[in-house]
């Protein structure tokens, strides 16, 4: 039987604590944070989807001469790979970044009132709590007034929950779920190369109902007031669904829309047009 002296006990205690803190840091969902600065002022956050591909929001386009800080580096050379104005996401190829890609869970179901966290200066900080899924977005309540767009949010188990994209109302914020990020990560090359069909319509989100409503149309087959509920084989519940579905169809092929017009479901086939 081994015995532990007083000093030995102290050493063991500190060793265990150190080991535990170290182990916990390893359990974090990867994805070293990326901070975006302009003139020494932080303007947004982001994270890496691959060692040199980072994602943030389009608010950075308001600034000139931005630069990036990771935990170990300051980076200046970048190019904008892709901007999606619907989701607000901006994808950047950053030279010599060697970032740690975020681990995106396939399915992350958040429970109402589940707390959400951010990683700030190596610490996990409680910033609010999830309330509900809202038109494809996650909605959460926060009283933190120092949140930055593009900040990755983590759930109670420290898994990636989504990326903060903006404020909807008072203390209500929206974030994009991990599956949306995974979609762009996996299809970005195809999206850039292929683009999406141009329909010449303006739609509006129907916050309380499924589907999206046509607000203006310069397309002769689509009328103002139509509610789009399906595109090709994809069900459309919100603007995000419509946006994603358009990236997945062939822009050169005829496109089938299901719309509710005057209370009746109607099928409309549009000619392709890039």
């Amino acid at each position: 039987m081994w015995r532990i002296s007083g000093s030995g006990m102290k050493k063991l205690t500190f060793s265990l604590l150190f080991f535990f803190i170290f182990f916990q840091s390893l359990l974090w969902a990867g994805g070293a944070p990326l901070e975006i600065f302009c003139k020494d002022k932080k303007v947004a956050s982001g994270f890496f989807l691959s060692p040199d591909l980072a994602v943030t929001t389009d608010s950075i386009l308001l600034y000139n001469n931005i630069y990036f800080k990771t935990e170990t580096k300051t980076l200046y050379n970048y190019r904008i790979e892709f901007i999606d104005r619907v989701t607000k996401l901006v994808f950047l190829r950053i030279k010599d970044a060697q970032g740690i890609p975020m681990v995106l869970p396939e399915d992350n179901i958040l429970v109402e009132t589940e707390p959400l966290y951010i990683h700030e200066k190596g610490k996990r900080v409680d910033v609010g709590f999830f309330t509900r899924k809202l038109n494809g977005y996650g909605a959460f309540i926060s009283e933190d007034k120092s949140l930055y767009e593009g900040t990755p949010l983590y759930d109670i188990e420290d898994e990636f929950a989504g990326v903060l994209i903006g404020n909807l109302d008072q203390n209500l914020y929206l974030f994009l779920y991990a599956d949306m990020l995974a979609f762009y990560r996996d299809h970005l090359n195809m999206i850039i190369k292929q683009g999406r069909p141009v329909l010449n319509i303006v739609v509006t989100e129907m916050w309380e109902y499924s589907g999206i409503q046509v607000k203006e149309s310069r397309n002769e087959l689509v009328e103002k007031g139509d509610i789009i509920v399906a595109l090709a084989n994809f069900q459309i519940n919100n603007v995000l669904d419509f946006n994603r579905a358009l990236y997945l169809v062939d822009p050169a092929s005829p496109l089938t829309l299901k719309v509710i017009r005057n209370g009746k479901l109607k099928r409309v086939t549009l000619n392709g047009g890039k």
Binding site: M1, I4, T13, L16, L17, F20, I21, Q24, V43, A44, T57, S59, V86, K88, T113, P115, Y117, E120, K123, R124, V125, D126, F129, T131, N135, I141, E143, D144, K145, S146, L147, Y148, E149, L164, I165, G166, N167, L168, D169, Q170, N171, L172, Y173, L174, V198, L199, N200, I201, V202, V203, T204, E205, I212, K215, E216, V239, F242, N243, L246
Partner: protein, 143 residues
Amino acid sequence: MTCKGQPEKISLYLDEMMGREEKNSFRAHLDRCPICRSILDEYRMIRAMIRDVHEKTPSDMGFKVLNRLYSRRQRVKTAVFAASMVALLGAGFFLGNNSGRALVASREEILREALEKENLKRIPVYSGTNVEDIRVRYEEVNF
């Protein structure tokens, strides 16, 4: 008869600690002295009783009892040590998971308050310096 009993010598005699001459001399004294003989008989009887007790209780029993007591004490010590380690790790885990700012009010209170606030007038666009008000974005989306 002047002997009042010589218990020290009797003990030495019983323990076979005397030399031959001294032993013979003491035996001669015992033949003459009834007091020393009675003391000798008493000592022998006590020794017989002790031997009897020893035969009924194995010699290693005391050791076993002590060993068991020691083991039990060690087990308690080990259990206390293990419990301390678990408590320490638990405290580390708890502190590690809950470091940072904590909400003072309960979640239910915050939720209720937030839901009440939703009925109030909406704050203007770009209310915050870091986060855009995005509701207007989805009122007109071009495709």
